[in-house]
Symmetry: C2
């Protein structure tokens, strides 16, 4: 393994877990020259003619799927922190004596700290997928056998489609399924909305196992997962804890600073002329984002403006906008609360999307670049507008990438962030981990002012005569450093020990995470 300096000056390995890597080359600079993955041709003659693929247990399904050492097993994270299935899955894998699994989740959550023992005993070799919380901590401390690979939602689709990651067995948790394997996430006690994160897995894995706690007669509709891609169906008592799968309701921030940020973002979108008839925007589920949506809604109502579409993850606030006629459509990558799930089930202008449609950079375009404005968070930004979303200034890898990198391609990318957190400045000279290049970040909105990327002369001109607190990023940084007593100390890391890499949306490596010296 050799370390290479990539196009944003970051040191990245030329090889990860024995696989050759391409260093990041710049936005749109790496043009792939190959063919998508192929799958083995199957025959209906090999499957039950009555369409009944139910087997009696997850263990039996794993055995029928031919599980063996060193395989890649994928899961999705729509069950979020309520996921009991993945833990049970690895209990079964352990009981079968299987070793060295590459676990390929679309993300992992604190509930998966159960799996640390399997990382320690060699059942799991390494994780490729976002690691929220304990598993990220475990990884940063250099305890994982292999190197973690973090990809965006779109990057995960791209890696499967392009054959970079071959999934041997995909496990798909389905709140509703039929014996043929058709499945969705909108019906049943474990309903979570759309199940787009498992689409690529269902399409490309050698063997696909659908696990459901709500088996219904063929056909269950909508078939977000198509039974034609499924090998086995397993019925279980429960997939997880519904309260942790989706919130009953999502909460708007009460912090005065965050409310101010949210108000600035909404005002910016109005004054910059983005908020106009037929426009589109995306905002996530964080408390600031929810508040932003409420402020924007009032502005839209006041001016009689209707959006063409809103991108979720959706919440009751977006659902209200759909139901009040403030948007024609909601397009959801995921669904954050029960109202969102209900709306997706009942309202066919509330459409479930997938990383293929929304985010895959190796397609003939995707939805992300069509959106007028996206409001995102970040753990850190730097004075060159580069941004970090996975690690903290102490060097710990603690957050997933989600669709964040993919969303950067919107026509106006806004990072809505506090200027400091726990007395640690958020605007630095250089981010700890570079997850998105500054050229894609158009606006940084803090409670102390709004910094517009100098590249966006159009936006600077558009808000020149507004009463928005437009400031330079360095000016805001200086003020924050004065309050916090300067830059945070750089974490002490072992640069010879890469514990994880961050992929860009095109599969190239944009940055490394190094082992913390603790």
């Amino acid at each position: 393994m050799k370390m290479i300096k990539n196009a944003v000056g970051r040191l990245v390995p030329d090889e990860v877990n024995g696989v050759k890597q391409i260093p990041y080359k710049g936005v749109g600079k790496y043009i792939p020259d190959g063919f998508t993955a192929r799958t083995k041709i199957r025959s209906c003659a090999e499957f039950p003619s009555d369409g009944n693929k139910v087997v009696k247990s997850l263990k039996e399904a794993l055995k029928k799927a031919g599980i063996k050492d060193g395989m890649t097993i994928s899961t999705h994270h729509h069950l979020r922190n309520g996921d009991l299935l993945t833990n049970k899955l690895f209990d079964e894998i352990k009981s079968l004596g299987i070793k060295n699994i590459r676990w390929f989740p679309s993300a992992s959550f604190p509930c998966h700290s159960h799996l640390i023992k399997y990382l320690e005993d060699g059942t799991i070799h390494h994780i490729e997928g976002s690691m929220n919380g304990p598993l990220g901590r475990f990884t940063t401390e250099g305890k994982m056998k292999g190197v973690g690979v973090l990809r965006s939602h779109g990057g995960r689709y791209q890696s499967i489609q392009d054959g970079e990651v071959h999934i041997d067995i995909a496990i798909i948790a389905a709140p509703e399924a039929d014996p043929f394997g058709n499945a969705n996430g909108v019906n049943g006690k474990s309903a979570f909305g759309g199940t787009g994160f498992s689409l690529a897995d269902s399409e490309y894995a050698d063997r696909v196992i659908v696990v459901t706690d709500n088996l219904q007669p063929f056909p269950v509709v909508p078939w977000q997962i198509q039974g034609n891609n499924v090998d086995y169906v397993v019925e279980v008592e429960s997939l997880g804890d519904p309260a942790k799968i989706v919130s009953g309701t999502t909460e708007v921030t009460k912090s005065p600073d965050r409310l101010l940020i949210a108000e600035y973002v909404a005002q910016f979108m109005e004054e910059a002329g983005i908020m106009k008839d037929g426009f589109s925007f995306q905002a996530g589920s964080g408390g600031t984002n929810l508040a932003f949506a409420l402020f924007l809604k009032e502005k839209m109502k006041a001016k009689g403006i209707k959006a063409r579409f809103i991108r979720g993850g959706s919440t009751k606030y977006l659902v209200e906008m759909l139901e009040e006629g403030l948007t024609d459509y909601i397009l959801d990558g995921q669904t954050f609360d029960l109202e969102g799930v209900r709306s997706m089930r009942e309202n066919h202008n509330h459409v479930s999307t997938s990383p293929f449609t929304s985010y895959n950079y190796h397609g003939k375009g995707n939805f992300a670049s069509i959106i007028d404005a996206v409001v995102l968070g970040a753990t850190e930004v730097d004075v060159n507008f580069n941004a970090n979303v996975v690690s903290h200034s102490d060097g710990y890898l603690l957050h997933g990438i989600g669709g964040w990198q993919n969303c950067m391609f919107s026509k106006c990318t806004i990072l809505a962030i506090p200027s400091f957190r726990d007395r640690i400045p958020v605007i630095l000279d250089e981010v700890t981990t570079l997850c998105a290049p500054g050229e894609l970040v158009d606006v940084i909105v803090t409670e102390r002012g709004i910094a517009i990327n100098p590249r966006r002369k159009d936006l600077l001109a558009a808000v020149k005569n507004s009463n928005l607190p437009i400031r330079s990023i360095k000016e805001i940084q200086k003020e924050v450093y004065e309050i916090c007593g300067g830059a945070p100390a750089k974490p002490l890391v072992d640069e010879s020990n890469v514990v994880a890499v961050i992929k860009w949306v095109d599969g190239t490596v944009i940055d490394s995470v190094f082992k913390l010296e603790i």
Copy 2:
């Protein structure tokens, strides 16, 4: 090229248009051992970031797609006999001076007789796809340069998926589309319902051109065709003649014989115990099939029986059953009348399917084998229950296969046919063209009685004490021969000159069509 006798004793060529063929081996006997087709990896960097893929004309789109001699160009037949686009397409191809195109439609109709001049002048080399009417006549007379290849809907999907047919440029006629290329068939003046026949084309073709007469802002929903698979979008004044695209209404037969057949089929399904709560059936759009659905409906109402699902092509009669609560779902492969289109647009228990979900034999199962009973037509059957759907007893190839072969896998396959047509017996010693092996045909219902395949002892036992006119196939044949004056004369053909082959659902060759000596 060498002729080989296949597993049903038919002479088939070992090579067609220079491509090696596998002779038919029996139902479920050929297990493929390879990988599905791959497509070139694309990058969003190569596509407009605002998602606008509109180009100014079909000719420009063809040029951008790199059209050249010898390419394979695909179209779908959802516009049926109202299709003006395909004729226009080949006018453009001719005007570009392109030669030797393999035209790969999902089917062709009499309106496409416009293309005979392009078959004659070398613009089109040959057709792979069902040929209804004039093009079939042209082919049977040995006038086409290459050999025709007829596939079922599922076989067409299979051939694309498996890489047997590589599509260079797919042309998708869309009654509604957005500039990104998302498209559907349910909205707009040319609405035809679901657009499943073009799904494989959109997924696997090198370049995909969506042509619409109803361009709407992003996103049009449902996205039956995903813009992420589309290269170019072209707006035209009109795709075709709406009256010929779908019927205003579909007509039930008035013929006393056909009504009797329809009544027998319904009665058979009741007495054989197929019609029971939660059952499923499929019936096409012919006048006999429509009458059957009406008879069955009355029986279901009388007994308080509800189906789980009905497979269309749907018509107002099936829609009424859905709306009256006689079925939970309609799953449509295509839509035959305006009421069907309306219902698919408005009722989300009326679901559009594709040949992938319904019919692809090289998948992990498909819907066709799950269905309790299917009612089909045939041009001929023989005393061994083998059936023909493409040619007449005079040797002319005049009909498409459609989903007919695929539907044969239902739990009870019923052919509802008159025992003779125009004084020509329909039950022969041997069919002119063998499109489905007798082992898959369970019941033949004629106005002179019902013949049950001796293999289906269960069905024979189930209706033993009914008052249905159960007879042996030979007995019915004998009676018909007496009326018609014996078997029809065999057509005079040149067995050294194969003008078309019939593929089985697994891509093997089940029969040949020979040049007629006329």
